[in-house]
């Protein structure tokens, strides 16, 4: 078994329970040759954090989604769509026929919510390449051994992607005795 195969055993992990079967990330060929065998990359599943997932069982098995472009009043009313120019609508990314899945731009392939990178990468190819090589995005766990990576939607709200605003922790407390010149 080549080292790349070992390195690319990509598991979708949830907090304790995997909801999906292990699923290789889409662009395994884009990973560099001779990727070190000392790393196993795990994608952190997104679905356990989605409040209304599974969408089918919770609602859309009964209620067939209406793809008409309109003002959302009864459901998803809080959802603001501000992703690039105002050309996007729900069914660009969400599958009408399979409510528990996203769908590729050509409408051919269902994409898991745990692999939003496959969807986002259709347009944001350069960023996606960076992400798949570990140059973009959040990874934890270890620099070798098990590396846990997040997919796009763990940080970016795809409906209205914006720069993240955070509350800064307290500024360093400078002891006036130790740093009299401190501003």
């Amino acid at each position: 078994m080549c080292s790349r195969c070992v390195a690319l055993v990509v598991l979708v992990v949830a907090l304790g329970c995997a909801r999906e079967t292990p699923h290789p990330i889409s662009n395994t060929d884009a990973l560099p040759d001779g990727a070190a065998a000392d790393r196993v990359i795990e994608l952190v599943a997104r679905t356990p954090y989605l409040a209304t997932y599974p969408c089918g069982a919770q609602c859309h098995d009964e209620r067939v989604p209406d793809p008409t472009r309109r003002e959302l009043v009864t459901f998803h009313a809080a959802r603001r769509i501000a992703h690039g120019p105002a050309i996007h609508w729900c069914d660009d990314c969400h599958s009408i026929t399979e409510p528990d899945h996203l769908v590729s731009l050509d409408g051919q392939n269902a994409i898991s919510f745990d692999h939003s990178d496959e969807l986002c990468g259709q347009c944001h190819g350069e960023r996606h390449a960076d992400w798949s090589e570990g140059m973009h995005g959040l990874s934890t766990g270890g620099w070798r051994g098990t590396v846990r990576r997040r997919t796009c939607t763990a940080c970016h709200d795809p409906h209205a992607p914006e720069h993240i605003q955070l509350e800064a922790l307290a500024p360093p407390r400078l002891d006036p005795r130790l740093a009299p010149e401190a501003r």
Binding site: E133, G134, M135, L138, W143, E167, R177
Partner: protein, 327 residues
């Protein structure tokens, strides 16, 4: 020697007969004495003992044993001596702080040289890394010591002299960029050359470490460091026992005594076990990337190969292993 003699020495007169070399002053004597409390107390006691020509040494030297004082440099210790040293430190941590620490001394991994890459476009200046570092590394809470300082710079400039450290509120602020600065882990470290007693050195995996038991607290390294990355324990470090991280390393985050230097060590006790530094684990925006510089497929190597990389004060030739990049 009278005060008149002293003033003559201060203003030398040409063609006058020179006075005999004065004995070293008290200050000069102290300068060669270890600043570490135990060592100084011991030496003082030993000096007193020598003065009474071979009298008992034990008086007044309670804090340090013969083995402590005459032990070899850390790098010359064999495995048994190291184990004994770690056990001794664990016992001391338990006695002084009531914490059962697990102090380890992991060796550098073969074929590994660590490097850090920080995405300046992503960093929001939230200071999560700063506080995670303090919690991981048992740095003093009062007076507060932080290894990481987040600088707020005006967008479009890298004027570090005008950097703001005391910003507050919601970040990132408009038209500002944020630059966390800690030890740059130089491949050509000026601090190491400045140390007169070899208490700080560069490990084979590129981490510049400090032996807190060997440091004499002269602060030469602090003056030599162009990044302000080395910090001095003016006071006894104070941490509540409940906040002490028991996962410790000899050359990294074990509890320091007063009067020694300390600095970022890339979380040595974590990274040599394959884990990530605490600052990367804490970063909520994924601005930090840590990895092996010698592995061409590692995250940091891919960043160095493909991104616009910036090194802090490159002109000084310190060759940092900490890289800032834009994407």
């Amino acid at each position: 020697m009278s005060t008149d003699d002293k003033s003559k020495r201060r203003l030398p007169v040409i063609d006058q007969p020179t006075t005999s070399t004065p004995p070293p002053s008290k200050d000069e004597q102290e300068a060669i004495v270890r600043a570490q409390t135990g060592r100084r107390a011991f030496l003082t006691a030993m000096g007193a003992a020598a003065a009474v020509a071979g009298g008992a040494i034990a008086t007044g030297a309670a804090s340090m044993s013969w083995e402590d004082f005459f032990r070899q440099h850390y790098l010359r210790l064999d495995d048994d001596a190291r184990r004994a040293l770690l056990a001794q430190l664990e016992a001391r941590t338990l006695a002084e702080h009531g914490v059962e620490a697990n102090i380890r001394a992991p060796a550098a991994l073969e074929g590994v040289e660590y490097a850090y890459a920080l995405n300046l476009d992503a960093c929001t200046g939230c200071r999560q890394c700063e506080y995670a570092c303090a919690a991981e590394n048992n740095t003093s809470r009062d007076p507060q010591m932080h290894y990481i300082h987040v600088l707020q710079l005006d967008a479009g400039t890298f004027d570090l002299d005008d950097a703001e450290q005391q910003y507050e509120g919601t970040v990132p602020k408009r038209a500002h960029v944020y630059m966390p600065v800690s030890c740059q882990q130089c491949a050509n470290p000026p601090c190491v050359r400045a140390c007169p007693v070899n208490a700080t050195w560069r490990e084979p995996d590129g981490i510049v470490v400090v032996d807190y038991d060997w440091c004499i607290g002269c602060r030469y390294c602090e003056a030599a460091c162009p990044y302000g990355a080395r910090h001095f324990n003016f006071a006894e470090p104070s941490i509540a026992p409940s906040e002490i991280n028991p996962d410790q390393g000899y050359l990294s985050n074990r509890i320091r005594p007063q009067g020694v230097m300390e600095k970022c060590h890339f979380c040595l006790h974590r990274v040599r076990e394959g884990r990530l530094p605490a600052c990367q684990e804490a970063c909520p925006v994924g601005a930090r990337h840590f990895g092996n510089l010698l592995d061409p497929t590692s995250d940091v190597r891919r960043i160095l190969d493909t991104k616009r990389v910036y090194v802090l004060r490159e002109e000084l030739g310190t060759m940092p292993r900490f890289f800032y990049f834009f994407d």
